[in-house]
Amino acid sequence: MSTLVMQPTHMAVRYLRALWRQPLYVVMQLVQPVIWLFLFGQLFKNVATLPGFGGVSYIAFLAPGVLVMSALLSNGWSGTLYLTDMERGVLDRFLSTPARRSSFLIGQLGYWAMLTIIQSVILVGLALVGGARFAGGMPSVLALIAAAVLLGLVMACFSNTLALRLRDQNTVIAANVMLVLPLCFLSSVFLPQAVMPGWIQAVARFNPVNWAVEAGRQSIFANVDWSIVLTRLGGLAALAIVFGLLAVRSFRAYQRAL
């Protein structure tokens, strides 16, 4: 098969294998969203009686939001993979081969996409156990997972760009921590738009996290509004391409700074 497909695949396999060898890390990555889901689910149980929730239980309302937030959180670590490789000289070794720069990025993004899918499937299962219902059916649940994957890729590319250009572990971690929660609170992850203050509603319109939540949340309603799903997914896909190009260009910036 052509190197266009094989080289990214080899890179993705490398990351998956490393992950497989750190089971504790895998467990920790999964425990966190479970805590969000059940802790928040319990804490805010009664807010679902407010108007704007569309008559669903809070855990059902929350599940797509937590799924999107979890994708954002885990993909936000993406840049640290490159930082570890930089520190050990592995990235320079890769870059001295004739393989394409985009292969390294695409392979790594493939790994993140797989990780997001696994994480999302587990969360959907746990939400069902917790009493949530996805009335929109299978296609809308797949759209929810697609939204999480696309948003995750945007975040991973952003984190990679920071890592390649600034080459500083603290900055990459701080950006993840400082961005994710505010972006989630400025979206309908925890509460529907209808109960938000006007200015947050205005900001949320331009917040890609909100696009992902809006697209994903259709899965809990019986009559799915596919125009919302498709426009939001389209916006996320466009953004992922822009950030992907930015990250590929950052390889060149990294090499120039050598």
Binding site: M6, Q7, R14, G89, V90, D92, S96, T97, P98
Partner: protein
């Protein structure tokens, strides 16, 4: 693996008038030119900041020169970096080992990045792990490897695609003596048995002396001297004679007495209470030197005679000893 002769000419590396500045001000290379014949081990020597790493980065297409041109195996590094990458192997100063992967996985991925097919690659990986005595540890996570093993793995990765020209950046820095000599033997074998042209940078004069067919000392981004280790040493003409004076002896008296030695002593210098000079045949010269000092009433604590070393070469060309050379960030 046999010596392979491919289409390119007699030179593995040709660098012409290379210049590189960092941040507009810091000059890393000024007008650096040199050529490496194929099949040779060529050592690039110099203190930190001399420009060794910058030269290697240009030749391995990792960075562009501000001026000048370079060809590796006849291929222009600026016009065709991709072509250069295909035929060179790079072993960086850092081990560049993925510690979360096994030795075998490390070498295999490197081969995959060169687009090697799985059958051929599997065979090649086994062969390399064998050659670098890593077969027993091949399926262990590299995190469990010793420093020497990681370095060998690094060299094995640099060789997976059978490069024509190999770049080794300070290959034995930080290794224990046993690991060093074992790696030296492998490097020598690569050049003699496999016909790989090798450019190595090093801090160690003894390493260059033992491994290199030719060596070049660079300092502050330019060539100080180039030649075979023997040429450079014999250019110093003769042995080094070091005279340590007694505490009550007068240095001026000693220098005056020695300078009348019919020109037999050359390059007379003094550091503190020690006098250094060069002489054609050290052992024969010692009695005359001692007699002259005795006649001048200068008492001597010790006299040593040594064959010239590359350290002396470095001293005579840069005016400072290699170990006293400034250290700093590598460039």
């Amino acid at each position: 693996m046999n010596t392979r002769l491919s289409a390119f000419g007699p030179f593995a590396i040709e660098a012409e008038n290379l210049e590189k500045r960092y941040g507009g001000n810091v000059v890393a290379l000024r007008d650096l030119s040199f050529r490496v014949e194929r099949g040779m081990v060529f050592a690039l020597l110099g203190p930190n900041g001399a420009g060794k790493s910058t030269a290697v980065k240009i030749l391995t297409t990792m960075t562009h020169p501000d001026a000048g041109r370079a060809r590796v195996a006849g291929i222009d590094v600026i016009a065709n970096p991709h072509g250069v990458r295909r035929i060179i192997g790079c072993v960086a100063q850092k081990d560049a080992v993925d510690l979360e992967a096994t030795g075998r996985e490390n070498v295999t991925l490197q081969g995959q990045l060169y687009g090697m097919g799985s059958g051929e690659l599997q065979h090649r990986v086994g062969e390399l792990l064998d050659r670098f005595q890593l077969s027993d540890a091949a399926d262990r996570i590299a995190r469990t490897y010793s420093g020497g093993m990681r370095r060998k793995l690094g060299v094995a990765m640099g060789l997976v695609h059978r490069p024509e020209v190999l770049f080794l950046d300070e290959p034995t820095t930080g290794l224990d003596p046993e690991a060093r000599s074992s790696l030296w033997a492998e490097i020598r074998r690569l050049a003699t048995d496999d016909g790989v042209s090798i450019l190595l940078t090093t801090h160690y004069l003894d390493e260059a002396d033992r491994l290199a067919h030719r060596l070049m000392i660079i300092d502050e981004g330019r060539v100080v001297v180039e030649g075979t280790p023997d040429q450079l040493k014999s250019r110093l003409r003769g042995d080094a004679i070091n005279i340590q004076l007694d505490a009550d002896a007068l240095l001026d008296d000693a220098l005056r007495a020695l300078s009348t030695q019919d020109g037999r002593l050359r390059d007379l210098t003094s550091v503190g209470r020690a006098v250094h000079a060069r002489v054609d045949d050290g052992a024969r010269a010692v009695p005359g030197v001692l007699a002259a000092l005795d006649a001048a009433g200068v008492s001597v604590a010790a006299v040593t005679v040594s064959r010239p070393s590359l350290d002396d070469v470095y001293l005579s060309h840069t005016g400072r000893s290699f170990s006293a050379a400034p250290t700093g960030d590598s460039r």
